[in-house]
């Protein structure tokens, strides 16, 4: 049944397929991000409580959402890599992790920036921010493990195991951190949640979310293409692609 997927286990077919998607993904990303951000940052009405400083949510919320989404994607790639021994999936882990890590960092940074005008401090142990911080460490761990080995395949498999261990823990960590936060009644910066959002704010937010989705997808696709090329450099199709003859022994 899955025979049609078999060519994509190797590099070349996937490279070409991703190459076909990439312009669409990038185009949509650019379009949606521009529309969403311009609308949200300049045209949406100010919040009656937080004034203009709430506008950071147009970046913070999608970044946080996809930081977790990317981790899930990475874990799925890890599962495929381990169970079916598919090399493209191994490379996908390395492609997704840095993008996810950057998204997490953006979420943290924008969360901190949001906090400053509200609470006067650059950092509060808010449930979401704490959870994002831990997620950042999980991403860095996966990357560190991936590149710690001499043999790339061994590193990829180790990172895959770690991603799966992480993905099981992420909901547990999330739950425990939120619970801890409620226990200690810490400051909640991110109380600005969906229920009370009027459509003038909701729509640009949704557009930004869609924009981040395509941005993440485009970045991951580009990174995966690069990784495929790098790993398959010894094969003729890759050398042709680069228009370069690679000398053995380099």
């Amino acid at each position: 049944m899955w025979k049609w997927l078999h060519p994509y286990a190797k590099g070349e077919a996937t490279y070409r397929l991703l190459g076909a998607w990439l312009p669409w993904l990038s185009g949509l990303a650019a379009l949606l991000m521009t529309v969403g951000l311009v609308w949200g940052l300049f045209y949406a009405p100010p919040d009656y409580q937080q004034g203009d400083s709430y506008r950071i949510i147009f970046i913070h919320v999608p970044a946080a959402m996809f930081s977790m989404g990317a981790y899930t994607g990475m874990a799925i790639a890890a599962l495929i890599a381990l169970v079916w021994q598919i090399r493209t999936a191994e490379w996908a882990i390395a492609a997704i992790a840095p993008v996810g890590a950057v998204l997490t960092f953006v979420a943290l940074f924008t969360g901190a920036v949001w906090g400053k005008p509200m609470w006067g401090t650059w950092w509060e142990w808010d449930a979401r921010l704490t959870s994002e911080l831990i997620l950042l460490f999980l991403y860095i761990g996966v990357l560190a493990l991936y590149y710690a080995f001499n043999d790339a395949r061994t590193g990829a498999k180790a990172a895959a195991i770690l991603s799966l261990v992480g993905v099981v823990n992420v909901p547990i960590i999330h739950f425990s951190v939120y619970w801890w936060n409620s226990l200690h009644q810490g400051a909640t910066i991110t109380k600005f949640e969906k229920p009370s959002m009027p459509p003038e704010m909701l729509i640009p937010l949704l557009i930004c979310i869609a924009g981040f989705l395509f941005l993440t997808a485009a970045l991951v696709t580009q990174r995966l293409r690069n990784e495929i090329l790098k790993q398959e450099l010894h094969r003729p199709w890759a050398q042709q692609q680069l228009g370069v003859e690679v000398n053995h022994g380099v």
Binding site: Q85, N150, D151, A152, H234, H248, G249
Partner: protein
């Protein structure tokens, strides 16, 4: 003569280097396959693939016609692998190491003292292995060969650190194993002094850089 071990189109790439590709060979009962080649060429990798510690990039290994992937446990019960490192616990004495090792091999040692004597360790049995010489530690590891009933022996550099007496002892034991229909796969940089017929050689060269 029954084929004990068969390799089909084995290909292995490690750390970006292709060690061997499309390698096929057979090993029958009563035969030795001696894998030779320069250091780092891939001899140990081949052995480890056959033992089941490593997966080849492509290809299959079959024991008595059955692929390794299908029933690894069955494979493991029939195979004895001794790698580069002797797997001797430094803190335990020779006797304790033998005791645990034989249990792990599923063997009840009736007379451990006899075994110690055979491998030339009688009198050293109460000393923690870390205080023994490299050759003596290797003898503890090789003692497994003297009680093993596994059909296929896979040995990586078994003669390391052994003196001539030790080497002769091993040769004798190999001969007995082959008489009983066993098969042997080994690497060694030293040339094997062995009477020709049942010996096959396989040479793995480093790829031209």
């Amino acid at each position: 003569m029954s084929v004990v071990l068969e390799a089909q189109q084995l290909t292995s790439v490690r750390a970006g280097r292709t060690l061997f590709s499309d390698l096929s060979w057979q090993l029958a009962a009563g035969e030795i396959l001696h894998i030779e080649g320069p250091n780092g060429a891939g001899k140990s990798t081949l052995l480890r693939i056959v033992a089941g510690l490593l997966q080849p990039l492509e290809g299959n290994v079959l024991l008595f016609g059955q692929p390794q992937r299908e029933d690894p446990e069955h494979w493991q019960r029939q195979t004895l692998f001794i790698g580069h490192k002797p797997a001797v616990k430094a803190e335990l004495t020779a006797l304790e190491n033998l005791y645990f090792q034989s249990r792990l091999d599923g063997v009840q040692l009736d007379d451990p003292w006899q075994l110690l004597e055979t491998v030339g360790l009688l009198g050293l049995e109460d000393i923690p292995a870390q205080q023994l010489s490299a050759g003596q530690q290797r003898r503890i590891a090789l003692a497994r060969l003297f009680y093993s009933q596994a059909k296929l022996w896979i040995l990586d550099e078994p003669f390391t650190a052994l003196d001539t007496r030790g080497i002769d002892l091993l040769h004798q034991r190999f001969a007995e194993h082959l008489e009983h229909g066993g098969a042997l796969l080994l690497t060694s940089h030293q040339p094997l002094t062995w009477s020709g017929e049942r010996l096959q050689r396989l040479r793995i060269e480093a790829a031209d850089e």
